[in-house]
Amino acid sequence: MTLQDIRRHFETPVVDTCTALNIPYRPANTLEPNGDAYSEFVEARLQFGAMMEGIVGDCTNLENIRGSFIIEYFGPKGRGPARAQEVMELLFCEMLALKGVTDINGPNFTELENRPYYFSRMSMAIRAHNEAP
């Protein structure tokens, strides 16, 4: 898998869930669309961490890629946590069933102090390997 394939692998269930729930999804490095306190959206970011581990033996799969995948939900403030929980629970179940996800932290829920959003985040450790050509 290339890095882009890995990104697609982890993002696809998030995109599909957001589409099913009719929530805008904001991928990494895209311009922020106009939004306000009444809108809701989901963001996800993939970061690669420890990319290489020494392997002894004849193995064509040299890279053992680790990283973290972060999913964040932003929803309107002052309307209770139900919607955020619904969204995050579905996303949690999707990620739990996804190959390569090893450890999910969260989701945590909080009202943001400086922004007009109710916020939830979960992060997870990911593993993949980059096959040699």
């Binding site: 970011r45 970061q47 690669f48 961490g49 420890a50 680790r66 990283g67 973290s68 972060i70 964040e72 932003f74 450890d103 932290n105 943001l112 102090e113 400086n114 922004r115 916020f119 985040r121 992060s123 997870m124 450790a125």
Partner: protein
């Protein structure tokens, strides 16, 4: 009925000692890497990691920045300070808790989605989500492996011979 297992005098003390030294090495290596990977604008945040004995301890974020707003605009980063872990003694210890005591730590750790870290040209302020990636991206695991190896080379815990000598740590 035949007895299972065997007893080595001093072995429990030896294992406890190895465990304590490994935990101490791991805690210090983790903090050193957090200092290396994390943001260093004034250097105050990276020098305010603390290691306390016991797991799950609460480390309150109580320390205000000693820099004024003006000083924070063009700071010279403080030199990095080595953070040491207190020694764990005896059996039944509970490891360590690591935390940072600066009030703005959630911003520095990228855990506050409303907070934006100070950034500037040619300055290390760490990549986005550096902390989550540190914990979940494999680096923590590598450090724990490295700590085990390093502790295994510690001359004070090598050469276990059993008996009373092993208890003289």
């Amino acid at each position: 009925m035949a007895k299972t297992g065997f007893k080595l005098p001093g072995f429990t003390s030896y294992v406890e000692r190895v465990k304590n030294v490994t935990a101490q090495e791991a805690a210090e290596l983790i903090v050193a890497e957090l200092q290396e990977d994390g943001p260093a604008w004034t250097g105050e945040f990276r020098n305010n990691w603390v290691i306390v004995t016991g797991t799950g301890k609460r480390i309150p974020a109580t320390k205000e920045s000693s820099y004024t707003k003006l000083q924070r605009q063009t700071p010279t980063a403080e030199p990095i300070k080595k953070i040491s872990a207190p020694k764990l003694k005896g059996k039944g210890n509970n490891g360590y808790t690591i935390g940072n005591v600066m009030r703005y730590r959630d911003i520095a750790l990228d855990l506050d989605p409303g907070g934006v870290r100070t950034a500037g040209a040619n300055r290390n302020t760490a990549p986005e989500d550096w902390y989550i990636n540190f914990v979940q991206g494999g680096k923590m695991r590598q450090i724990l492996e490295a700590a085990t190896l390093k502790a295994a080379k510690d001359p004070t815990i090598r050469g276990f011979k059993g008996g009373s000598r092993a208890t003289r740590f």
